[in-house]
Symmetry: C2
Subunit: 342 residues, 2 copies
């Protein structure tokens, strides 16, 4: 992704909400990354403590956190997300340090952000920003999360181009007053699949660091590009219904599911080995989760190959939520539980 | 619940996986509770460190954790869940301290446990237990989780009675050899609604400490008995679609949803006040969650009553998962964020 950004002359500001790890952050440093994106003040604080100096909090600013924001802005270049004149004014009134402000634009996902046609409100936000010495307008950003609902690569490309055109339209309108404004896009499906970044200045993908089954279903990655797995011990076997019970539930995988063939699944199963892990088992998926229990439905061959006390790997449906629930990662196969404790 | 247990001459061994808090644990101590249930070795360790001396880990034993189990069993009375002869034998071989063993019975939920008719396997488990000085058979337990799929109170009662009969049948068969065996049931819907506990020795409900919208839908509690709420700041408003955006997503509520009228919802919304909180808002629910974003759909009146920077309360669909994701609780309305930071 860093290479793709370089090739396209884009600022690469990866989203760190997926991994939430200073160690993984260091891999990005090694790839030349200096600017990052996070989705909460708490995450900003965590990475600022690790020496990151240019942090964009890509989530509508929470006025109740103005104190922490101001403290952080004293030590790092902080950019905040604002989408209302009222919030811009109230925020400025609570800060002593300067911060950047990017305006969130809704290009069709309809989660949050201003309509790109609503230039009257954008003008008001810019006016409030201009009225204070504390806020500096940095540009427009969007998260085209509707690519996650796309049915194929072509649709992802169409969504991306439409989203891009809406943003660059705003860029043209406001660039005469703000020469250095940045047009920023973020979703992993677009950033993975699209080749045309004309008019875009910055990308902020996050999920690509691990990918997951949802991204694979979208065509954003191949199955062997999924780079994270949850190791789960097998604690019971039920031959009558060809089910394996693992200690690995909603407290590990969240309750994220997806359609897979005619099933709703919560993960696919792999064998862990000294080289990493196998392709997903055929005829096998995580079919149910409760707080700590995961139920894997499989076939006779796989069922018989497993002994209680073995561990299995689960490829997550949504790696961001799984990683958020993990307390730690291991990075080498010889650190798998099965190797260290058996 | 403690009072109900006393009235019915039942051992009250509440499940602490719902709250996972030593402070809430102390409230149980004040109610006379000395025996507790948890669902992982980690939770057992957390509560053992707080002085709890009689802990049942109601989850099929994970052989990879035999070391931690043995260490814990040196300081507390530990009971484990076993449902295979192989596991009983291998477990005993890895322990130096004695532990209790309860056999999990599947009375119809089909998540895990032995079929009550499978007395041949039960005999084998008991034989393995008897062959070692380390394991002591304590009885049979079940989690009739299929009460969560019941359509009304009568069905919950029917499931409970059927489950009870299956367990007491086993009790009669094995009590001649094990005079002190304990018959233990656990689900909150049954423990809340049922009055007939004949033949049962112990109850292990957990969720009732907070209850939630799912329990309310089942009739296990009233809406004003829900005792936990997630406080979320409002960070954006979208008048065109009557939506409020809060900072409160899948990392706070998990991705647990339920049917509510013709909608799928992730929570209901209340107003926080000095007295606690209001009844749920009419025409309002959490309709979508992503990692950090929660989207509330509401009506004009409620929409207009809210200002960005206010906080709202969200009653969770499933309190266990919400509480598991929380880092801390506050117990007094004057500790609400809106009071302490505005």
């Amino acid at each position: 992704m860093a290479e793709k950004a370089r090739r396209n002359d884009l600022i690469f500001r990866p989203h760190f909400k997926t991994h939430q790890s200073v160690d993984v952050g260091n891999w990005f440093r090694e790839a030349g990354v200096e600017k990052i994106t996070v989705s909460s003040v708490k995450m900003a604080s965590y990475f600022a403590n690790d020496g990151w100096k240019d942090i964009f909090i890509a989530f509508p600013v929470n006025l109740l956190e103005a104190g922490e924001i101001d403290r952080l802005a004293g030590g790092s270049r902080l950019t905040l997300s604002v989408e209302s004149p009222d919030v811009a004014r109230r925020l400025a009134g609570r800060l002593t340090n300067s911060v950047g402000v990017s305006i969130k634009i809704d290009t069709g996902y309809h989660r949050t952000g201003l309509d790109p046609g609503d230039t009257a409100v954008i003008d008001q936000v810019l006016e409030e920003i201009g009225a204070t010495g504390k806020l500096e307008f940095t540009g427009f950003y969007t998260h085209a999360g509707h690519t996650y609902m796309a049915k194929d690569r072509n649709e992802i490309e169409r969504i991306h181009l439409r989203s891009r055109d809406l943003l660059t339209g705003l860029g043209q309108r406001y660039r005469k007053d703000f020469h250095r404004l940045v047009i920023s896009v973020g979703d992993t499906p677009s950033c993975s699949l699209v080749r045309d970044f004309d008019g875009i200045d910055e990308i902020r993908p996050g999920n690509f660091v691990f990918y997951d089954l949802m991204q694979q279903a979208l065509g954003a990655c191949s199955i062997d590009e999924i780079a994270v797995v949850l190791e789960c011990p097998v604690v019971a076997k039920h031959a009558g219904r060809m089910e394996l019970l693992v200690h690995g539930g909603a407290v590990n995988l969240s309750k994220e599911s997806m359609h897979f063939g005619d099933r709703r699944i919560y993960g696919l199963v792999v064998t862990l080995s000294e080289k990493g892990w196998s392709p997903p088992w055929e005829n096998t998926s995580v079919v149910s989760l409760s707080q700590e229990h995961g139920i894997i439905k499989t076939d006779r061959g796989h069922f018989d190959s497993v002994r209680i006390g073995d561990t299995l790997g689960i490829l997550p449906v949504h790696s961001c939520l799984t990683a958020n629930l993990a307390e730690e990662y291991v990075t080498e196969p010889d650190q798998f539980l099965s190797k260290t404790r058996s």
